[in-house]
Symmetry: C2
Subunit: 324 residues, 2 copies
């Protein structure tokens, strides 16, 4: 079994060796720039770890694993245009550094490159691999659409929100794990079960991200606290608070949300105070723990030898254990 | 053998029966809208005709044929954002009717739907089919990038231009034909040769489009004459004129191109006059004929029975014979 560290190394090397620089440079430079920004490479790690867990050869999974990561970065690139985001991983977004047209077309090209990598797989497994990837890509687009809809939609429920993050975030985590299973020729039932594990892990991961945005340690989280509050993002925390608040608390919460006259610091502190008052932090932790438990239950049901799941548990810790 | 008319009918029915309407409607309505705008459906026709030419069953080619058409419409949707085009086939473009974000994300989703259709093919042929489709999609993106580069690039040569239209237009025509061959299990050599036929046909088709924009009959062409001249598009005609013009003619041509004070009618008439003076119309016709002849030479080299190519020749007439 490879260690988590050596999986990290393998993925890092694969991207370091790959060259995306071609003509025309105007098209490919933004792609190289985007992929050089790095990131945690969680999704390709999950592909390789799942592959090994099911007894496959990770050599055959490296290209599809890269494909998933390239796809993920493509979605970030296009999402950043739609969200008008200035920064990504502390650097200028492509549409800011170049322009919107460049970001659209380089993104489209990255999408093709993702498919090229996914296609580099055992032909016997290609139909299943491609169907899974197509299904995932479509769902991620649907998730992004729901996320954009929520910005102007007055009544977003917690179930609506869970549907959105399932599509936008969890299915790609699940797809990564299922890809590893398919590439190892694991039984269909196992592939479907590891997908469900991925869904629960992905939901916990996104809720943790929401949580850290409000209650994380800035120095460790790597992002400013309260970014979601500042941008009126309808996160799990906000929607839960809105669902639970009554009387004066509801009035205050609504004011903080709608009143543009209120300064950012006052707004952030005010909303965080309401969150604490309503115990939204604890409620969110419980919800994260629920999905984490469901994930663990599914993982345990495989009855993998304990030694083989150690590194997967470490990665889960890396994904969910930050600041907890 | 099916007639051209019945091929048209089969493609029309396939799109009429297909439903792209799903939730969320904000994502799928622009896709339905785009695909309902119609168009000549040339590319799926080429897939089916090529398939039958090589003795394949067109039933197995319908989904990939639709995939090519959906991909083509996706590229138009994103190109229209980049070109800030207000109209497509006489109707509002998606980014005008909705907004840019909708056009980006609906386009991305159409791209996935294209892959879903391409994937619905005989698993034995899927690796070759997918590689061809990926290669084509990447080249079309490169072609669009060169086309955008040309807008600000001072010295665009005729070979540069031919490279651009080969990538942006001809490879998808060629891909359609090769797909038909692959899906019929034609020998690799035949598949490669029909691709080259498609390249020549595609180059002739794009040059014809350039020609008609300047010298077509508005009532039959379906577009206003001089659209390319009005937008300073560096077409084959313009680049050839710029290459050939000397002395006073060069000064006038450059003025028409750069001087924003000159009215549109004066500019259009002035440039058309220079085109006629330099015999750009004849030169372009000769160039179209060159590519048409090369295409015919390749097609004839297959030595298909005459009866089987009749409908392909009719389609070529439809593509190239307009106004000639």
């Amino acid at each position: 079994m490879h260690s988590l560290k050596s999986f990290h190394h393998i993925i890092g090397e694969a991207f370091a060796k790959a060259s995306f620089a071609q003509a025309p440079s105007q098209l490919y430079e933004p792609i190289t720039y985007t992929l050089d920004l790095g990131g945690k490479r969680l999704r390709p790690l999950l592909v390789l770890m799942s592959c090994e867990l099911f007894g496959g050869e990770i050599e055959h999974a490296i290209y599809p694993a890269m494909g998933v990561e390239i796809f993920h970065n493509f979605t970030l690139l296009h999402d950043d245009i739609m969200d008008n985001a200035p920064l990504r991983r502390g650097n200028k977004t492509v549409h800011q550094k170049w322009d919107t047209n460049t970001a659209i077309l380089s993104g489209d090209t990255m999408f093709v490159i993702a498919y090229e990598h996914v296609a580099k797989t055992n032909p016997a497994m290609l139909p299943d691999v491609l169907n899974l990837f197509n299904d995932t890509a479509r769902k991620v687009c649907e998730g992004q659409q729901y996320d954009m809809n929520f910005e102007t939609q007055p009544n977003v429920s917690i179930p609506d929100y869970m549907t959105m993050i399932r599509l936008k975030t969890a299915v790609l985590i699940a797809c990564s794990l299922k890809l590893g299973a398919l590439l190892s020729n694991a039984p269909k039932e196992s592939a479907d079960k590891i997908y469900e594990f991925g869904i629960e892990l992905g939901l916990a991961f996104q809720l943790q991200d929401d949580f850290l945005d409000a209650f994380g340690d800035t120095s460790k989280f790597g992002k400013a606290i309260g970014g979601d509050i500042a941008t009126n993002k309808k996160t799990y925390l906000f929607l839960k608070a809105f669902e639970m608040a009554t009387g004066d608390t509801l009035v205050r919460l609504t004011n903080y949300f709608f009143d543009k006259e209120i300064g950012l610091q006052e707004k952030t502190e005010g909303i965080l105070e309401i969150y604490r008052q309503l115990k939204i932090d604890e409620i969110t932790r419980v919800e994260i723990e629920n999905h984490h438990s469901k994930a663990m239950e599914i993982l345990n049901s495989f009855q993998f030898p304990a030694a083989t799941t150690t590194e997967m548990l470490k990665l889960m810790q890396e994904m969910l254990g930050r600041e907890r």
